[in-house]
Symmetry: C3
Subunit: 303 residues, 3 copies
């Protein structure tokens, strides 16, 4: 990897992304071989979670431990009273003396970038506010590649809250690096994809998009569902109406040759009887977070 840190998906080009996806595939094979892996034996990952995110934390810890490495860290700012009053910069400099690599989760936008400026070891952004969460984007790409066989030329529908979901925004950007991708944005008026993302897509020749308010999945390869949060609606009746319309049911995907993705946790935007269908890939997607994070940890530590 050319990069020292992984802060934003926008820092890495298509070539690096493909390298990470290739390495992730090797990691998945290693996992399947059930062999004991000691690639990162003796190394320490620090998981600095300034806000709780159990799923992301456990995925990073699993990745590190599967590679034979160790983990130190904290799970919540409330347990770090000693660090109260201490600047993020100082904490990072202290942790740089303990660990070999950092995964940081922080509620403030830009905090991961700031951390990387003070760290003497690699830093991975595990989510900084509504800004970036690059390992999520990479595992989304990996899921598409593994389950569809390719990323170029796919037709993907994003459904639900397209306004606030950083996952959707980052994946849109990443897909725009590939060829002939077609995006269908499906959302209520209140939660449409931001105009700046549309403007970015307009500048690219290799990507097409359209916007809709009803779920029609004809010709779609990938349905990317998102959670619609009640808090986003000033009028509760509006929410109830919208919620019903954007719920993925068995009927909607019956006999269709597509895959269903979701960054999880889901609440009720996917009917639970969809879970057993072969199209449902969201739990596999969650599992793919492990080999993808293994690849990133390995590549950043090998430099």
């Amino acid at each position: 990897m050319k990069m020292k840190h992984l802060i934003s998906i926008k820092d890495i080009g298509k070539k690096e992304i493909l390298k990470i996806l290739d390495e992730s595939e090797k990691m998945e094979e290693l996992l399947k071989s059930k062999k004991v892996i000691d690639i990162l034996n003796g190394k320490i990952l620090a998981t600095l979670f300034y806000e709780p995110s159990t799923r992301t934390r456990l995925s990073f810890e699993t990745a590190m431990k599967r590679l034979g490495g160790n983990v130190i860290g904290f799970t919540d700012i409330k347990n770090t009273s000693v660090m109260k009053g201490e600047s993020l910069a100082d904490t990072i400099r202290v942790i740089s003396g303990y660990a070999d690599i950092i995964a940081i989760r922080h509620p403030s936008e830009g905090s991961a970038r700031l951390a990387s400026e003070y760290a003497t070891i690699p830093v991975i952004n595990a989510g900084d506010g509504s800004n970036q969460h690059p390992t999520q984007t990479l595992l989304d790409l990996y899921t598409i590649k593994r389950e569809i066989g390719k990323i170029d030329g796919i037709k993907i529908a994003f459904v639900g809250d397209l306004k606030y979901g950083r996952t959707v925004h980052s994946l849109c950007y990443a897909l725009s690096l590939f060829d002939d991708v077609e995006i269908v944005f499906i959302s209520p008026e209140e939660l449409k994809i931001p105009r700046e993302i549309i403007e970015d897509l307009n500048k690219k020749e290799n990507i097409k998009y359209s916007e809709k308010s009803n779920i029609d999945l004809t010709g779609i390869d990938v349905v990317y569902m998102t959670r619609i949060q009640k808090e986003r609606f000033p009028d509760l009746n509006e929410y109830q109406k919208v919620k019903g319309i954007y719920k993925l049911t068995r009927e909607l995907i019956y006999n269709k040759n597509l895959i269903v993705m979701h960054p999880l946790p889901r609440v009720d935007e996917i009917d639970s009887n969809v879970d057993e269908l072969p199209q449902a890939k969201y739990f596999k997607q969650s599992f793919y977070g492990v080999p993808v994070r293994m690849a990133i940890l390995k590549m950043l530590l090998e430099k």
Copy 2:
């Protein structure tokens, strides 16, 4: 082990229990050899504690690490805000993609069974409400076997709160699988052993029991003490009276050939000057939790 999961002591027969106790003895010998053990090298245990139970959690983690394995997990629902709104089923499916085996502690009865239905990896019940805590029952049996030399034919007295203690109920059931066990229930009227347990015992021919309200330990092999909780008494005076009567003192066991057990934590139902007596086995009992849990982890993962 025939079973895929360990949810309730009632799921396993005497033969399986004996197999676990045998394996536990091997594990205890391994621990004593001070050799580095790598039986579960590369494996990951997920400790999903939806309510805190430090002792049980640390015992499971110790068992896994003593076997050379790794641990991921959370210690409290409050630190898992991301998982809020997510169903237990979804969490279990996600964790099945990370870990090799799960130990779950949950305040709701039946939750461990539910988890086992969605998991693609083995699930161990580490306590679900007032229902089951099978590894506690197995370590209780192991303590009796190691300290008395046998389980068949013992005479055991349960003392204190026999109404609410799931530990006592499960151990009663397990003992009813053995031969010629005699149980003496010693409790205040308010905290008598539930009638359904008595009815179950009535159906068995190989087990005898009696009920008392005063502590008389003549002829007893095992005294199993329990905590009497203040909250159980509407009248505080009643509690004070009862508390005094059911306190185990040096005098009560002086010169008697018996062992004293307690699931811990104790508050003041055992006088601290009993601790140094050779009959006091409650700290050893706590230690035995490690080899017993090692055996269970190993057997479930070897399948």
Copy 3:
């Protein structure tokens, strides 16, 4: 090591301190070699933190994991509800059955000593209230030795809150074991070094001291900065005045041949533009906590 536990710096003589510093140097070399270390493979450290102290906890965990060992523990009393109502003695006896060594942090003075009396495994005091934190003192000594080349004959200035800082008190004691050390206490009137420490120093012939209220660092080898806490001042104006005077700036140490130490976390008593100066050693000091704690863990476990 002659000692079974490490509770107070006052329990160990100069000879033992030097042995620990020598071993720490070996540990630092091991760390630098980037080799996988398996000296404590299979061993378990229990970090029992009855109050949060993230930095100290992570330093201990790093030390143990760098040596190839494992860690169990808890980070806060609030997550140990099960242990509520249980005596410290009982908890220690239970943990003695799980782990090989304990690092305990507790708000009450004397608790670590109490723990060591009930433990059947070595106990390290990781801070008991305002009393002792011996590994901090040892890493302070190690920093001086590594960065100045010697401890005998140094001239050290303690600056800031000298009244409440246990770090300063313990280091004063430790320095009094060495030859020809000269101490300059620099503090506001309200936060002067306690008279009992002055009396102790008066008894020693090998150590000189003086007290000042202004920062003059002429001839000083080591400046040991401490945090001045707002809460200590009844009058906020007094605090504001004092805060300004005791702030270490570039100008104060410009062209001076000295090192700056700080137990961290710092708030604003050291100007951030001091960080890049070669004299700034506080982050290195924090790093030295790892090899020093490795040495202590190894020496106590080797007995």
